[in-house]
Symmetry: C2
């Protein structure tokens, strides 16, 4: 057995203590697999006294330099989270010739290039399997197992909080505000739920996945983001009636544009036909659906967050680096963004749309609305009028596939019509209704 | 760009021509990812004249020595299938210092150790991602991404033919013989369907997965195998009524035994509760469900066979080896069977059972049957009697969890009872009914 690989762990919160626990529980097996023991030798904490009674046999430090300047530490594991000081610490560690593992989606989504460049310059590894989908293997499958493919589509349920909320609304027939309050009470949603329900957490994750799948750097700013705050119980129940489930999807697709390739990346609620494997993903589970020219459809499913699932991914990366160390193969696979594909603009994307609106309950209204749509080249596939809401008629419709720009024009015109009292909701349908 | 990595391709059938096509289609991207072009330089075929008109720019040969002795060929890709001559060719290639990629489940399941030993001795790579689950990434996720976990369970739908048949029986209410004839007509099932419907194809695949997941060599002989030939439409419809789907499952689980760990590996039809993610796997799709102590539940889904999906896995392995060649890191990860865990005997496994039987339609029969079960410590959870079949009453029951040995004793006793006309089916239930 070779000499141990020593780790400096930055942060001892939920994920950090999970990493500790996984390495402690499975130390012997990990040592056999990697060919050397893997040991956490120092942990950076904010307050040492907090851990005085904890049964952990490791040196605690409050000074990052203790880790950065320790020549015995070969791998720095960053599980502090957030932008700073995590980014500065990681860049310094890479600069000092240490391999870095992180589960920090914020930093990877926004500073991936800088981190990779620094890793390459110093011939060290930079890995981040835990930054997307918790314990679900997805980064390595995309970079390695599916490397023979031209990927055309990545579509994921990558935020557990919103999937839990949407699943619960559908199952228990409760509205958004109620389910949010319950999720907050159970600790599934934060006091300020914006990052989750606003789609920003998912946006960071799909930026990371899209960069790898399409081999081009996608920044957070490139992602179109719409959250689930406007999803009502009525929409969920109409969706079910039409054979759909509403999911917050993170989508990245490649398009032909001016003889080249462009990538559109977006997060929004969508109606997904019930035969799609992603609709079976319930509660806090995550799944990432990937379509490649050779492999066809694949899907990766599991717990997208949490102490041990995320630690599973982080320690998997540590093992991979330890194996690289044994074989003198550091930086075997680093940044795979070799191309420069422009962003395909949201206006040019196409999809069918679901719309629910309240209109005047009088003759000729349906004709006027259909003709307003028609003037913008929007054809209607389904129109349902079932009930009255106050003095208005509720109209629910699904269009054929239409470009985003035409749909937005149609929406603006509808809004200006006196017979339209309210456009309650507009939701994209992730199915090809041509 | 470094000098090309050259490949000798053994076999140009379905998968072989798929490998050729994937490399041809995505050559530029593959070269950028690996840092060197990847080229098929020679193809071993049985009959050269068959390819005279084919538009393939490569040297064809009918002599394996042309490839084995070509010093420029670094990777040999075996896609002939079957045991021989595939095994001999692969051992010779490894012995000549060539890396080997295969999609051959027969050889990997039965001669994995020999192949790995030869690879290790010659410091070359041996990879086989395509041997299980076609294009679904599963070997690399188990060996790398989930390496931090102690895996407790691997459960897969790994045979597309039988999953297609069972899905079609359930959807279209047709019986086994009809669906088999249809599957044969459509090319989904072979003229001699034994390997698929008898469970032997699945057995080879789960032997491979179990060896990796539990780090101990599982041979084909270690696998308990039961096929789907006895599954009737009646059972499928009763299953649905009870909230289950019948799937041919390949299962590997770790058990405590005499202060150590043992592994049970089996293939049999099972009733799976409809909330289990594997029940959503329809038609020819495959999926492998993996449970680990850190990651919890994960699932890997996709097309488990076919020209391009299998080629996706094979070329993914080629890319991985090409990357290893660039980094002088050959045989970075070889055999991971470091432990020797005995086989946990089938008799000692426990599960609830579904049974359908025809009994005399007279008073006291149910009591007699319940007491026969009770004498073997088998408790009944559900008993349904709905209809008569000829002059008999059809009894459908589900037991609580019971050991295999007790269940078999109970079955033997029932068979000897004059009031029991026929035990139509006995199917394990993959749910913990305690």
């Amino acid at each position: 057995m070779n000499s141990p690989v020593k780790i400096g762990l930055l942060g001892f919160g939920t994920v950090g203590s999970g990493v500790w626990q996984v390495i402690a529980n499975n130390a012997d097996e990990i040592a056999i697999k990697t060919g050397c023991p893997v040991q956490i030798s120092k942990v950076l904490v904010r307050n040492k006294s907090k851990y005085e009674t904890a049964d952990i046999d490791v040196e605690l430090t409050t000074d990052i330099q203790d880790i950065l300047n320790d020549p015995d530490i070969q791998i720095v594991v960053e599980v502090i989270g957030g932008k700073e000081p995590a980014l500065t610490y990681m860049l310094a560690a890479l600069g000092n010739g240490k391999h870095v593992v992180t589960a920090n989606k914020d930093v990877v989504a926004e500073f991936g290039k800088e981190l990779f460049d620094t890793a390459a310059k110093n011939n060290v590894d930079f890995m981040f399997e835990g930054s997307v989908g918790g314990g679900i293997p997805i980064i390595r499958p995309l970079k390695q197992c599916l490397a023979a493919n031209r990927i055309s589509e990545v579509m994921g349920i990558v935020n557990g909080t919103t999937n839990y909320m949407l699943s619960k609304m559908a199952k228990e027939h409760i509205d958004f505000a109620t389910v949010l309050a319950q999720a907050q009470a159970q600790g599934y949603a934060e006091a300020d739920p914006t990052a989750d329900v606003g789609g920003w957490d998912a946006a960071r994750k799909i930026a990371i996945l899209a960069s790898i799948a399409f081999g081009t750097r996608i920044n957070l700013d490139d992602v179109y983001v719409e959250g689930i705050t406007n999803i009502s119980l009525e929409d969920i129940e109409y969706a079910k009636e039409f054979g759909y489930a509403i999911k917050l999807l993170a989508i990245a697709k490649e398009y032909q544009q001016n003889d080249g390739l462009a990538v559109n990346v977006r997060v929004h609620p969508a109606m997904l036909p019930c035969h799609h494997p992603l609709t079976a993903v319930q509660d806090v589970f995550n799944a990432i659906y990937v379509k490649g020219d050779a492999v066809g459809e694949t899907m990766f499913y599991g717990r997208g967050a949490g102490k041990l699932p995320t630690a599973s991914a982080v320690v998997g990366d540590i093992i991979d680096i330890a194996r690289n160390i044994q074989h003198h193969a550091a930086s075997r696979i680093l940044c795979t963004c070799f191309a420069h594909k422009p962003v395909f603009p949201m206006e040019k994307t196409e999809s069918p749309y679901y719309m629910r609106l309240l209109v005047a309950d009088q003759p000729g209204v349906l004709a006027a609305i259909a003709s307003a749509f028609g003037a913008q080249q929007v054809s209607l596939h389904t129109v349902v009028q079932k009930r009255k809401v106050n003095q208005f008629a509720e109209l629910v419709l699904i269009t054929y596939r239409v470009s985003e720009v035409n749909m937005q024009l149609a929406i603006n015109i509808l809004r200006s019509m006196s017979i339209v009292a309210e456009i309650c909701s507009v939701i994209r349908v992730e199915e090809d209704i041509k």
